[in-house]
Symmetry: C2
Subunit: 640 residues, 2 copies
């Protein structure tokens, strides 16, 4: 708490992102520096100047075929009715592909068109035309020809033509040295023992690998404590040895966010805050002639800020254009709200269903790194747009290859641990296919199928009147649609409880009476609907439950919460309890079915998915987890 | 000539490419081998098994904001009209983003919404809801969650989430070791002094870099002579230490092509020859359980054969899908003929002109490596298709990013050395733009503009009747089109002659009388038209000229030919003579103009191109070459 009274700078600027970028690129100047390296090591490097051929290839008249070299004008009489015989030495010689054509020969006849009479004599029945089957000097590359302009990124075949003209060394753009400085008292090295409030320093490794991918040379500094004098010293030292400096965290406006003050003190600050989310609290400045980029601690904010500013700096250093991501137009499966006055970068899942790309936003929480890892694309909502309605079309930048997105089976609905297993088995058997799943709950799963946004939805919805699972909901909500309800699993739902069940909870009445801290699931989740039924059956209401409003999106997330609280309780499936070593009190045996569009069910992908589900190997793996029974010889359930 | 009588195997198989691939992949088995490596080194590596989170992140309830932690239910009375004061310690504590929330606090209020009354007292005017601004345990990653399936290629951000859950090491697919064996008596190391018949060994380096890019580990063997016993020994040794062996050349059916016999002797041959061009003479086999791929010596054939067979083998080893190239539909600018019975892989230039992708084939000569380097895409003509007509639409696989193709200025027509300079200057000033040029001659350039296949064509066509350059041709051939004829250069055409002009050539009459070996340009080239006019003016005919039928596509290629022949002569521009240190006897001062579509001329790209042409810097560079005058303050020529 030693910095409690350090002057806060609460308000950040709202500078347009492109303006901030223009300024920083200008301040960076035109820094192209060259180095000469062996051509054989130059894959992915950038030519620093136009490259001219040093020699021609071929550098002599070369035979283009295996055959014999002849003097063309001496063959003009050859004819099927009048074969011509030639003697070795003066009249012909043997040549293989690539051999030099010795004077005075000026044409090559392919071996297939030559009759060998004896060691020294051949017969031909067709004349040769001058220079036939001869590769002239420079056919491939002519000396002095420009092979590559400056700014060309070298590919494998490019190295070949360079070497072919004996360019053993070439001049390439030096890689800019980017020093990465992680700061923060809360950070610990990856091998440390974790305690509350401590965070593994992993951003540095991610940044270093971005720098590598973008063509720079990263230098990852060790963690620096939140001490202004230390940070100052490290920054000054980095300015000596780097082309660009990245400092992580301390860029916002909190008690310990003094990075901006330090940069201002020992250098110059151009920007503190841009009108773009997440990634807004970025610092752009200069220390001793070197550009400094200060990025926020939240991983997703940091990655975006680096893409906005660091990547263009590296490209400028190498003098190559900034690569643009492929974009496609998608239909939005959900409404997307965006504040005015700032761009929003929204991570999106994209599915290809019924010949259409449908995209749904992932969490916009900048701390959820997995949402960036799982994203298929980025939707950039411009500053002056307040969002999009469900069903609108919008352009997204792709984070994965289009073909991969097209091949994916889009899975949504309720979360079950076996979906991961299924995904892994599928990838094992059919490397080009994969399952992309989002855990939105059973009801949202049904709606996604209805809107044509998913191929498959996992659902487990108990109908209070019939006490049957799923059928009533599908009949009601998908009345006129061609869908298949495929029985997948029976699984145990029950109370997830801290080891030893300290509050001795056996029923929903116990949850209320013992004032346990309940961890709920989100609206529309099958488990939530089950819990609400239990409340109703016991004549209780949500107000009686402590924690009813705390919503988690997966069974594991509920289990993790219960794990940390000796008064906790949740409702969930047995495998979640097992994974977290919790106690489990069974409540219901439920039917977890797969709802599919008929088109998908009947497709090749659908067939393969069912084949894996029904395989002995998959069943064995699932039942080994415990709490599951895979439905044997399943047939689609009858729908109205 | 020691292998002259080695048994030839002239005929290759015509096995369908996909069948050969299926067989070889089957023979390769299921070789996934794993290794455990540090996560921080795992960029681009492939997960060998599903990866489950080892810990949750956050692993404690963490503040999501800078602010104060409070007990939510004690804040319910706070209101604008009824501010609530809280005391440090029991009622609130300071928290920064990422800090653990100490018991009994259960909500965070953002710093912006807190009034600091004194050191120990705050005031709030709005109640907190339980768990607000708190990141629950596992918000990002829940312990036991599957983060990645098997077969995932790790990206920078992926390393972050692995490290975040303290996975410091992970299990990845081992890289397959691919030994590359270059063979051939004609091959020499890149540093050697070249003599006729000797070729630089550069394929090995290209192959090694393909292997690297595709995820394997290359081992490049030194050059092996064409001696069966030596090759046998090297193959057997490679089989011990490699997962896959690539042997270069000797795969065809020439005198020294005994590779297939050797593999048959010490192993098994599955395929010798596939029905696909170029790349047909490929060998697929197995030696001591290791797959051998024998590829032809012509670079382009070899690169394609590796892509067809080696890449799938590497992907199978890593258990990842074979990446597919993006494809686009293009309009064909020229007719493409393909033989039945084999696929044809045609290298294509692609331009984006008037909102349409237009593609033209590059040479199909497998020895012209530059055509692969310069290609924008590959057109694959299926086995049963005999080709396409000009104007047909066809699908091509892209070898460059689509955006790069879209940004390119398509330049065609006559070749001039200054176009390379212009290209380089443009790349220097506007990194995202580039010139793609093909040297087709002035007439073909005019036709390309007419068909909407190019933005700019360089032309120099002397009209015999008016003795004016270009205008008459444009008026005749582009009568109804909106084009601009922009005066670019005046340049000197003349005789290109060996140093010292041994035949003392001063005129076209000398060329005939002294029986010089003439090197001609292709039909439609301005220089060829000039030569034909010289012939006509002297009452001579093509038959009088030795070498009239030898056509080169560039000035430099003509100069290179003349350079190698003391009886040689060509017609070309001064800079070509200068580059090759030839003698030069001037014949004409010609006007080399730029013909542009009006749309391009008026576009931003057009404007920038003209700006560079008119810059002092460009003029200086051009005139330094010699033989050129850049037209000052040029204005478009008047057209009818």
């Amino acid at each position: 708490m030693d910095h409690k009274h350090y002057k806060r700078k609460i308000y950040l600027e709202d500078k347009p992102r492109m303006e901030a970028k223009r300024e920083i690129l200008e301040a960076f100047g035109l820094p192209l520096e060259k180095e000469v390296i062996p051509t054989s090591d130059a894959l992915g490097r950038v030519t620093a100047e136009p490259i001219f051929a040093q020699n021609s290839t071929p550098h002599y008249h070369a035979s283009a075929m295996d055959g014999v070299a002849v003097i063309a004008e001496r063959t003009y009489s050859a004819h099927e009715q009048n074969p011509l015989r030639l003697k070795f030495g003066e009249q012909f010689c043997h040549v293989d592909t690539g051999n030099a054509i010795p004077a005075p020969f000026d044409a090559v006849i392919m071996i297939e068109n030559v009759d060998f009479i004896d060691e020294d004599t051949i017969e031909i029945i067709e004349p040769a035309t001058p220079w036939q089957h001869i590769r002239p000097i420079g056919e491939d590359i002519v000396q002095e020809e420009m092979m590559f302009p400056q700014g060309h990124i070298l590919r494998p075949a490019d190295l070949g033509v360079l070497l072919a003209t004996q360019l053993t060394h070439i001049s390439v753009a030096k890689k800019p040295v980017v020093t990465i400085i992680p700061t923060g008292n809360e950070l610990v090295e990856v091998n440390s023992t974790l305690s509350a409030g401590k965070i593994i320093e992993f951003n540095g490794t991610v940044f270093a690998n971005f720098v590598k991918e973008w063509g720079g040379e990263p230098k990852l500094h060790k963690i620096v404590k939140d001490e202004p004098e230390k940070i100052k010293a490290v920054l000054l030292e980095a300015a000596e040895i780097s082309d660009i400096i990245v400092i992580n965290a301390g860029s916002s406006a909190g008690r310990k966010d003094f990075t901006v003050h330090i940069i201002g003190e020992i250098g110059e600050v151009f920007t503190h805050g841009v009108a773009a989310r997440p990634g807004k609290p970025v610092i752009l400045g200069k220390i001793k002639g070197k550009i400094v980029v200060g990025v926020p601690g939240y991983p997703v904010s940091a990655y975006l800020a680096l893409e906005w500013f660091l990547r263009p700096l590296i490209c400028k250093y190498l003098q190559i254009p900034e690569p643009r991501r492929q974009t496609i137009t998608v239909k939005l499966g959900r409404r997307i709200v965006s504040g005015m006055g700032a761009e929003d970068f929204v991570r999106m899942n994209i599915g290809y269903v019924n010949g259409q790309f449908v995209a749904n936003p992932l969490t916009r929480n900048a701390g959820v790194t997995m949402s960036y890892v799982r994203a298929d694309g980025l939707l950039i909502v411009p500053t002056n747009v307040i969002g999009y309605e469900q069903g609108d079309f919008a352009e997204v930048e792709l984070l994965r290859p289009l073909e991969e997105i097209k091949q994916a089976i889009v899975f949504c609905g309720s979360h079950d641990l076996t979906i991961d297993l299924l995904s892994s088995q599928l990838k094992d058997k059919r490397t080009e296919m994969k399952i992309v799943s989002s855990h939105v709950g059973s009801m949202a799963g049904i709606m996604a199928i209805r809107k044509g946004e998913a191929h498959v939805a996992g659902i487990h919805l108990l109908d209070p009147s019939t006490k049957q699972y799923n059928i009533a909901y599908v009949n009601k909500l998908l009345a006129s649609q061609d869908v298949v309800l495929y029985p997948f699993l029976k699984r145990k739902q029950g109370w997830l409880l801290p080891k030893g069940n300290p509050l001795a909870i056996e029923s929903v009445v116990d949850v209320v009476e013992k004032q346990a801290n309940f961890v709920n699931r989100q609206k529309g989740a099958g488990t939530r609907i089950l819990f609400d039924m239990l409340l109703e059956d016991a004549n209780l209401s949500p107000e009686d439950i402590t924690g009813y409003e705390r919503e988690m999106f997966t069974h594991l997330a509920v289990a993790a919460e219960v794990n940390g609280d000796k008064n906790g309780v949740g409702l969930g499936i047995y495998p979640a309890a097992k994974a977290m070593r919790l106690d489990f009190v069974p409540v219901a045996d439920e039917e977890y079915d797969l709802l599919m569009t008929k088109g998908f069910y009947e497709s090749e992908s659908g067939r393969q998915l069912i084949e894996i589900i029904q395989s002995a190997e998959f069943k064995e793996q699932v039942e080994k987890i415990g709490g599951y029974v895979v439905v044997e010889n399943a047939k689609p359930k009858c729908l109205a």
